[in-house]
């Protein structure tokens, strides 16, 4: 019992709710566009994801209609290619990932006892980028100019020469736009989970779901940048002719495959881990006992995360890479079965030792188990290189991947939706309609895809738009198509059930499944602030320990129940122990995220229609909006109306040196570092492997000038660090002049860099070598510019009094960026200018 945690006397819950709502509540009407609240935005993510799921599902049915009979002419080849490309793209990028992010955005704060995510405006930006990017991408379908090179967009098929229309541009620009959303969600989920857990929730008391989401978010942060880089490179090749992937100019199409799968394989686990998190959440609840082997599961999650980055080549076994590499990736691909098997048997043991009940959500979990284990087994088969050589790019692989993705993601998602429905709506789903929906989906799915393994073994390749009777595939394709439509009927029934339950479901009691985690202590449906007071947590099962929590929380008998200061507050806690360190105050509703993403949407559309000057202008506008948004942060009066806290409470984070912004900067730089490492990989890959790579005997880059620029950057960084050390000692003497001086040093670095670029005379449209150099130089140039501008703004903020010894937080955040720039810059000097000089040109 955690009675000791209840410190205050009970307040009137209704009154407290009204006061809290005053500060946290969502506006209505047009101003609803400014909402930053995670509950609202999580729902928006999920509803939008469901719409894209339906679009992707319709595309799948078009494919199955075309393939139902031999020699069909239901669709032209061009349209068919667009349809299957968009089916994969929509399901992966616009449904699976955003849907799970939406669920995580909705659930995580509630499960860890926080009132919102730690960067609420970033949630909003992420949602708008997702929505606009998704609309831009799917609009191509209606314009009949959708991408048609397959969802993994292999070059040169997707390049300007072989895909001259705008289809590939829709894909590259739209997906990159949507990925802003994935990355921002990734960053803030990591920081939220690490830094805003409620008092006492040490890492080992965290719900397993949060562990899974932490791993997923970190994997997004590290896994998405390779694809963003690849997309930028391919778009540059298409738009301005920088030949990164063009053999004749020294590029290599296989580089695209490496970068794509460097993202693409972790992506599978990015989708699977949250789904497994749902299973690990539901099984203990329906077994009526804690999960066995909590630590086993945590280790399995972490191991999965690491191994998943070492598997990408198993998508490329037929490319003809060296045997040793194939052997390594083959073994690694099989090894990932171990952590997965650990989880399957942890779940089994939990059921074995508990008293499980077969409610509707558990039915979906059982369906998940059968389908996913089957997909896992065919996955191990595919990891075996000789077998892979035979079935690669056949319908066997199509079947395998749907077993893994539908089994590993859709079924657990449905289980989770049914489980959490009462939380969303306050009502219970219908057991009967839901069971019909499940069985139709389950039977339809297996009819479609179990048979499809066989079709593949009979030699049917992927992505062909028709086939002839002599090939002997007729009956299997017809059965698969019938199964597909049965599955669609099942999904329709499930969605109908969910829609109806909002109106006709019987009202749910508090904690209807007798769950153990904090999300069931909120009101149903939840308020914007989740918890009127933040409970202390002493075990992994707070609600089993103290079933009275919902009442005592609403009565404000736990922490941070004071609201008259008008700040949106939650605990900033220690990442390991969960001990309270500071009060984090969150920014409120804002137009800036919407404006910034609108400007980015304009950039995206301008690039699509090749209005490059306008795109450049819109980029500046977007940056302007983002900087204006950043101006209102920290100690700005709009962000923290007054800095007073209750006696005995820790300080506001903006008055410390270690707020969430610092963590968010670090995680963002982790993503950035992954981007940069992918770039370096590309440079060395082309240098050593590309078949027609050519390199001048002397580097076109002036090493002395580069070193001089590096010296300016180093001096700036050291000076900034010195200022931050001063602030740490509460000493802000010479802060503004110092910041301006650092700005000047940044400016000097930029000027020198521009000189380097100008003097190098790179022919970036002629050779891949020059194109890669230019890309790297632009990368460091943009980073230098960002660091310089942010430092300039810091200097100005000192003048406004937003940065001082009392509010010392922000320069430390900027300093972290400078330190990153410093490392990256010297690596660039070494790899791009010095190494070619020592090793000489010629590959």
């Amino acid at each position: 019992m955690s009675d000791t945690a209840q410190t205050a006397t009970p307040q009137d819950p209704q009154r407290l709710h009204e006061d809290m709502h005053e500060v946290w509540g969502n506006p209505r009407g047009l101003k609803a566009l400014t909402i930053v609240n995670h509950t609202t935005l999580g729902l928006r993510f999920m509803v939008t994801g469901m719409v894209f799921f339906l679009i992707g599902g319709i595309l799948a049915m078009l494919v199955r209609t075309q393939l139902a009979f031999p020699d069909q002419e239901f669709m032209s080849p061009e349209i068919y290619n667009q349809v299957f490309t968009m089916h994969g793209t929509v399901m992966m990028f616009l449904f699976a990932i955003p849907m799970l992010e939406g669920l995580a955005i909705y659930m995580i704060p509630k499960m860890i006892g926080a009132r919102d995510l730690v960067c609420p405006r970033l949630t909003s930006l992420g949602y708008w980028c997702y929505l606009f990017g998704g609309i831009i991408l799917t609009s191509s379908l209606f314009l009949e100019m959708a991408p048609d090179s397959g969802w993994f967009m292999y070059t040169p098929l997707s390049s300007g020469e072989f895909a001259p229309g705008p289809g590939s541009d829709f894909w590259l620009l739209g997906i990159t736009f949507v990925e802003i959303s994935a990355l921002s969600a990734g960053v803030e989920l990591v920081v939220s989970i690490l830094r805003t857990r409620t008092r006492g929730m040490s890492l080992d008391k965290m719900p397993l779901f949060a562990w899974y989401i932490l791993a997923m978010a970190l994997m997004i942060v590290v896994g998405f940048p390779p694809l963003i880089l690849a997309s930028i490179m391919l778009e540059l090749e298409r738009a301005v002719g920088m030949p990164f992937f063009e053999v004749a100019a020294g590029g290599d199409p296989i580089l695209w495959q490496h970068l794509f799968w460097l993202f693409g394989h972790p992506e599978v686990y990015i989708i699977f881990l949250p789904a497994a998190g749902i299973v690990s959440t539901l099984i203990p609840v329906f077994a009526g006992r804690p999960i066995v082997g909590y630590r086993w599961v945590v280790v399995a999650i972490i191991v999965t995360g690491f191994i998943s980055f070492g598997l990408w080549v198993h998508h490329m076994f037929t490319v003809g890479i060296p045997q040793l590499a194939q052997a390594f990736f083959s073994a690694a691909s099989m090894l990932v079965a171990v952590p997965t098997a650990i989880q399957v048997f942890v779940w089994l043991a939990t059921l074995w030792l508990g008293r499980p009940v077969m409610k509707l959500p558990m039915l979906w979990v059982l369906g998940f188990l059968i389908i996913f284990v089957c997909g896992g087994l065919t996955g191990v088969m595919l990891a075996l290189v000789p077998f892979n050589w035979q079935v690669h790019d056949t319908h066997f692989v199509v079947a395998h991947m749907h077993y893994v993705l539908v089994g590993g993601m859709l079924f657990p998602l449905m289980a989770g939706l049914y489980y959490w429905l009462p939380l969303f709506s306050g009502r219970m789903p219908s057991e009967r309609l839901g069971r019909w929906g499940f069985w139709l989906t389950f039977i339809g799915f297996n009819a479609t895809f179990l048979i499809m393994h066989w079709t593949g073994l009979l030699g049917m390749p992927r992505r062909i738009y028709t086939y002839e009777t002599v090939m002997g595939w007729d009956i299997f394709n017809l059965l698969s198509s019938i199964g597909g439509f049965v599955m669609s009927a099942g999904i329709a029934m499930v969605l109908l059930d969910i829609a109806l339950h909002f109106r006709f479901g019987r009202p749910a009691p508090q904690n209807p499944w007798n769950a153990d985690t904090l999300e069931w202590t909120t009101s149903m449906p939840p308020s914007a602030y989740n918890f009127a007071s933040l409970p202390r947590v002493d075990s992994r099962h707070p609600l089993w320990d103290d079933p009275e929590l919902p009442r005592t929380i609403a009565e404000g008998r736990h922490d941070l129940a004071v609201i008259d200061h008008g700040r949106r507050e939650l605990w900033g806690s220690d990442p390991l122990t969960g001990k309270v360190r500071e009060i984090i105050h969150l920014p409120g509703n804002s137009w800036w995220p919407l404006f910034a993403s609108l400007a980015l949407a304009v950039v995206c559309v301008c690039l699509l229609v090749r209005l490059y000057p306008l795109a450049g202008f819109a980029t500046l506008v977007a940056v302007g909006f983002l900087l204006r948004w950043s101006w209102e942060n920290g100690a700005h009066p709009k962000a923290a109306p007054d800095a007073q806290v209750q006696p005995g409470d820790p300080p506001l984070h903006s008055r410390t040196m270690d707020g969430p912004g610092l963590w968010a900067m670090s995680i963002a730089l982790l993503a950035n570092g992954s981007f940069f490492l992918s770039y370096l990989f590309g440079w060395f890959y082309l240098w050593t492997v590309s078949p027609q790579w050519s390199m001048p005997d002397t580097s076109p880059l002036s090493l002395p000038l580069m070193v001089l620029a590096g010296v300016a950057l180093t001096a700036g960084t050291l000076w900034l660090e010195k200022l931050v050390r001063g602030l740490r000692r509460q000493d802000d003497r010479g802060l503004a002049p110092g910041l301006f001086a650092v700005t000047a040093l940044g400016g000097a670095q930029l000027a020198l860099l521009i000189w380097v670029i100008w003097q190098a005379g790179l022919e970036a449209t002629e050779t891949a070598h020059d194109a890669v150099l230019l890309l790297g130089l632009i990368y460091v140039l943009l980073h230098g510019a960002l660091g310089t501008i942010l430092t300039l703004l810091q200097g100005l903020r000192v003048g406004y009094g937003y940065v001082s010894a009392e509010a010392p937080f922000e320069p430390a955040v900027v300093a972290r960026l400078w330190r990153y720039n410093l490392v990256v810059f010297w690596v660039v000097v070494f790899a791009l200018a010095a190494m070619p000089m020592w090793l000489g040109g010629g590959a």
Binding site: Y154, A331, V346, I370, L457
Partner: protein, 319 residues
Amino acid sequence: MLAGCSGDRSILDPAGQAAREVAWLWWGMLAFSTLVLVVITALWLYAFRGGRPTERSSRDEKRIARRWIIGGGLLLPGLSIVVLLAFGVPVGQRMLPLPLPDGQQAERIEVIGHQWWWEVRYPDAEGGEVVTSNQLMMPVGEPVDFHVTGADVIHAFWIPRLGGKIDMIPGRTNVIRLEADVAGVFGAQCAEFCGAQHTNMQLHVEAMPRDDFDAWLAERQAPPEHSDDHQAARDTFVEHCASCHRVAGVSDGQQGPDLSDIGDRVSLGAGRLAMEEGAIGYWLRHHQQLKPGNRMPSHDHLDAETLDDLGAWLETLSP
């Protein structure tokens, strides 16, 4: 069941050593996987049954849980992987194009993927290189090294009944060694999505005894004979087709398939249309409907008669 496995591109109807070993691997893996799936599902379903003793000490619970996790989570996949690799790695080894014993030389055939047809070259043919397209003749009962590459985008070379596939990548040459045990005709089709007509990029593969194969090569050494009956058609060809198509002794175009022995082939448009009398004329008039998007321009500016005559001449081109 074996009847259900047959088919001219069935992996499970092998006609070569490599494919046969993979087929056996598949049956073994299928049996083992089915067993694992059934046992795991049965255990889960059993766990939902009530009536087990529920009062256990926490130490007992820990012991039972650990047994499941170590047994199912570590030992089961660990041992399965070891067994799988023990069977699988040697199979993979035997597929590599390693040097053959006692100085034997594998037959070398070059295959180049184009959007959307196959160029097949025999550089080591006695008397000079032989070039054909959309058909691949190979000797039976001896290893053949296929040197493959892509001319434009990435394609993949795959004869399912003989063995695994390999990508055909612009700028690179990959080698795959295959061997047919039995003479016969095998289906093959591009296996890497390569654009609008990926579907209609089929390859007719025929394995024949060594003597027949050598004879087949030899009869392609001399240019096809041209009778004077078709002089007008030849002129049409030279005017409209020669810049893209090669016909030995007539033209040297490299954009499209070599037509020197087209009269001898079984299909047109890389498997789109069966070869019979009048088929080429029909193809020339309707190829953009039959194979939409293919790289050959439509010939609407030529009248049907001219095209039919052209077709009739091309049909005579046979060694």
